[in-house]
């Protein structure tokens, strides 16, 4: 970790108290445009410094006290120790983008290739690579970590991976020409959902996580349409999704709508009036929509909170004494802000170029 800020990071006046539980916590933001992990005090937004992490950092996760950063422009991920020591872990394949954790290991989708890299977060070593469909993107973890579901942006499949055996044990065809972006599994693990960006639809599929692993036969690796439970049209240019016990939400970035379904993909509502909705967050009793083309969060119930700029990615900050707040990355404006849906922006700080998916350490 560097000793201090590498650039003049200024912050706007604090508009609210962060509470004691924020003290000592750090927001770590991969900044894609300057190849650094930028650090800020969660309580105040004070810049704490930048850590060089490799080319095009996009997402981060934390394990065993370390922060792992996916650097899409490299064939490696970067681990940052609490003491600031930086370790490069080779993946062998270009484009590490998303992390998933299971079986005590990290699984990283190598989005410019056709593999999940398996990393031991303790030894900081590449353990294995698992072949999956080309250009894997998001990886969903089934409850208990028994299965991983990796969506392929090129082969139109969701690959089913045994994280213990490090093997692809099945492949679910989402449709000809499908470009699978978001993948999620229901909280009970009984079904999965995949967003097909190219056809603007969501597909529900059956999982095998309810089966006994000792008796259930491993499916053939070829795409199998049988697990498909149904599909539904969503708004244009969908990317991500949110799945709860009884609801599935899919933002349609292209036409400013959020589709709400029941678990069987029965349409419940189409929420309109957004500019470019990208994600949803449950805060209190409401769902709040992050908008990449409007400087505000708007709830599905119609409440609005202004933000300093449009937000592309946000990270919930869970605190026991208050409702969740969000660290919002204003990708196009080189800023991050801590946003409270009751009080608005708590603080805003300038960042190195193109801040992306943050973590709270």
């Amino acid at each position: 970790m560097s000793d201090g800020p590498s650039r003049d990071l200024t912050r706007s006046p604090t508009r609210g108290s962060s509470g004691d539980s924020s003290r000592g916590r750090v927001v770590a933001v991969p900044c894609e445009g300057e190849d650094v992990l930028a650090l800020f005090a969660l309580a105040t937004g004070e810049p704490l410094g930048d850590v060089p992490v490799g080319s095009h950092p996009v997402h981060a996760t934390t394990r065993r006290g370390r922060t792992f950063v996916a650097t899409m422009g490299d064939r490696a991920v970067t681990a940052v120790d609490p003491n600031g020591e930086v370790t490069r872990i080779e993946t062998g394949v270009l484009g590490p983008s998303h992390f998933a954790a299971a079986n005590g290991e990290l699984f990283v989708s190598c989005s410019a290739g056709d593999a999940l890299a398996v990393i031991d977060p303790e030894s900081l070593a590449l353990v294995d690579r698992i072949a999956v469909g080309a250009e894997p993107h998001e990886v969903a973890v089934a409850p208990g970590g028994r299965r991983l579901y990796a969506g392929s942006r090129r082969d139109g499949v969701v690959d089913v991976v045994d994280p213990v055996a490090h093997e692809r044990i099945g492949s679910i065809g989402i449709g000809d020409g499908a470009r699978v972006q978001g993948v999620a599994v229901s909280p009970d693990g009984s079904r999965g959902y995949a967003v097909d960006q190219s056809s603007a639809r969501i597909v529900a599929f059956e999982t095998d996580t309810a089966a006994d692993p000792d008796t259930a036969p491993a499916p053939a690796p070829a795409p199998d349409p049988d697990p498909i439970l149904g599909a539904a049209a969503v708004g244009a240019d969908p990317y991500d999704l949110v799945v709860t016990a009884d609801r599935v939400f899919v933002p349609g970035r292209g036409d400013g709508v959020v589709h709400e379904f029941d678990r069987d993909l029965g349409l419940v509502a189409v929420h309109e009036g957004f500019a470019r909705p990208v994600d949803l967050f449950r805060i209190g009793d409401d769902w709040w929509v992050l908008d990449a083309a409007a400087g505000r969060l708007r709830s599905l119930a119609g409440a609005v909170v202004e933000t300093p700029a449009p937000g592309l990615v946000a990270t919930p900050v869970r605190e026991p004494t208050r409702s969740d707040r969000l660290v919002v990355s204003h990708y196009d404006d080189d800023r991050i802000s801590l946003v409270d849906v009751d009080d608005g922006a708590v603080w805003t700080a300038e960042t190195p170029a193109y801040p992306f998916g943050s973590v709270v350490v």
């Binding site: 064939r75 490696a76 080779e90 993946t91 062998g92 394949v93 270009l94 484009g95 190598c110 989005s111 410019a112 290739g113 056709d114 593999a115 999940l116 294995d128 690579r129 698992i130 072949a131 080309a134 250009e135 090129r154 490090h166």
Partner: protein
Amino acid sequence: MMSGNNSGDDRSEPDATRRGLLRAAAGATAVGAASAAGCLAVTTPADIAAENEVSGNVDRLVGPGWLADNRADVVVLDARDADGFRRERIYGARRVPLDAVSAQVPGEGGLVPDTDAIAGAFGDLGVSPDDDVVVYGASVGSRVTRVAFALAALGHAGDVRVLNGGFGGWNGRVGTGSRDRVSPVDYDPDTDASAWVTREWLAERVGSFNGDGPGLVDTRVPEAYLGAAGSDALDPDHDRHGHLPGAVNVDWTGNVSGRRMTDPGDLVRLYEVEAELDRDSTVVVYGDGNVDPTSTWLTLTALGFEDVRVYDGGFGEWTNVEDDRGRHPVETATNVVIETDGSVGGGGGGGDFSCTG
């Protein structure tokens, strides 16, 4: 086995034959006089031969003049197909069947050149390990370079050279009809396994190519390298499309300009400046099969690269590997496609310029 590379930019008239050039030569005297008067111009065989002479710091390639001066001291091998060979050839040349010199066998780490079969083929042609050899084709395309590589794989002790400009640049004595009788010899190879690498060799180095490890060049067309969906360049027999992780793409046809080797200065710029290959380090080349990449093998070797090797199994072996594909990943995205403007002329390949020698 061979890729579908067909740049097809054959500015040198693929149907031109030795006789056509001789006809041009027959009129050269009269026309040449007119040319001197500034009325007309004609290209004579001597002009063509002169165009194909080799200058500069380039190894392995020789021009027609060199061959004419040394014809009696070298074995001349014709890498073209049988029809072209029967029609016309350099007098005394012996034709090398492409399938014989591209034969493979499974080795411990994947497919490797079948040196026994290759040695047998050269032995049948009466080629001995210490013979100095000149290989030619319709151009300096990949059929020619595969023959040269096959000899290198055998550890051939004699010098192996390639005729720049191919048969079209030759203005010496020609032969025609059935092949001349030769006395077969027992070619006892001193196999040079450092001429090639295996799938296993590459798998152990995934992640290091063009970085801390060896250079790696994908010699196919960019569409195949990138696995461009719907492209005709994609081999339908391949389970996966794309390229080996970290490989830089330089289409092999950029090595050739018409029938000749591309200007060496341009090649140095292409490989050392744009592709950033290190001439002092190991560089591996591969394609869909084991023929086309030998063009880049010969080119880099001719430019003075110290250790150039061919992945003989090629992308087809890598991408269709049955076991542990996680250890044999394929990438589909990169930003290191090197633009080339090469063309492989010379015809003789039934319209497919990919393997016209």
